[in-house]
Symmetry: C2
Subunit: 186 residues, 2 copies
């Protein structure tokens, strides 16, 4: 059974990060990308710009911990979303102003369409509220796009993060009640 269970979403979830400002956002955006990978998404796409710092983080983590997170950058966000939808994909925009996740989760999960999860930075152009299929909130309080993405992927992929393993990993953790136990070398 693939990660994501009977719903078969594994292999079909991508993240589009909007509004990244290279110096200011490099660490938050890197956390978004690492959550994408560790919580079971398959790709990470950076809108508008490219950023070597983010790309280096993804490369370094993937080299040591395995997996191949698809990465693209500098895309036109609206065009990317429109093409995604024309290709039969669904678009879920995470925003604190949207409808509660529980109201749409069943509908989203029951569709076999590939999912594009859109994650904004501080300011998001109003057009993204119109071109997305769903505007979804993870609570109605301001918090963090990193947390919002983690909760969405947790619910969408049925806690895939609990069992993520990458066959080509050079490093693996042996869970330990005290201290660090890592096997491998990288």
């Amino acid at each position: 059974m693939g990660v994501g269970g009977p719903g078969g979403l594994y292999g079909k979830v991508y993240i589009l990060r909007l509004g990244h400002r290279p110096q200011r956002d490099k660490r938050i955006t890197s956390h978004v990308a690492l959550v994408a990978r560790a919580f079971g998404a398959n790709g990470f796409i950076l809108e508008g710009v490219c950023d070597e710092a983010v790309e280096r983080t993804i490369d370094r983590i993937s080299r040591c911990w395995g997996g191949k997170l698809y990465y693209r950058c500098g895309v036109d966000g609206v065009r990317f979303i429109e093409e995604w939808r024309r290709g039969g994909g669904q678009v879920i925009h995470l925003t604190m102003y949207g409808v509660p996740l529980r109201e749409v989760l069943g509908e989203v999960k029951s569709s076999p369409s590939p999912k594009l999860v859109v994650v904004g930075a501080e300011k998001v152009d109003p057009i993204y509220y119109r071109v997305s299929d769903y505007n979804v909130s993870i609570g109605t309080q301001p918090h963090s796009e990193v947390a919002a993405l983690a909760i969405l992927l947790d619910r969408l992929l049925d806690g895939a993060w609990e069992r993520m393993e990458f066959p080509d990993a050079r490093l693996r953790i042996i869970p330990s009640p005290r201290g660090k136990h890592v096997i491998g070398d990288c």
Copy 2:
């Protein structure tokens, strides 16, 4: 019924952030603090240093969106943990090297003790693995302390983030399938 349900954890969960470096970490640490607030924790404590940027973010969000997140900074982390435990509290250190959350969640939730959740930055002194009651992982892949805290609080407080409301809020969101609907002024 308080947030957190019959377990009665509401009012008893605090976050201790370790290893904050003011310039480099101000945004990640601010996200940790905002997740603490939005996911139902009661306080946020910064180890080692104080940082006006983090404090300003907490103040600004609390002023507009309500709630009183207890805040303290510049504490000695080990001493704080030892005092917490002497006072009957439990200490849960989030680390990718720890035991899976599901293995200890029942035990942690069944205890009425106040919880201190310890959230590290990149390097954590080995002593924290010894002075904590639990070293707990949110998956065994590297990702983000922001995401790890969100998932922990989600499980510990039974999805309190879905129903967080602050009585003194100046701003409130009316969930909307398209666009932004905010009432109030701040």
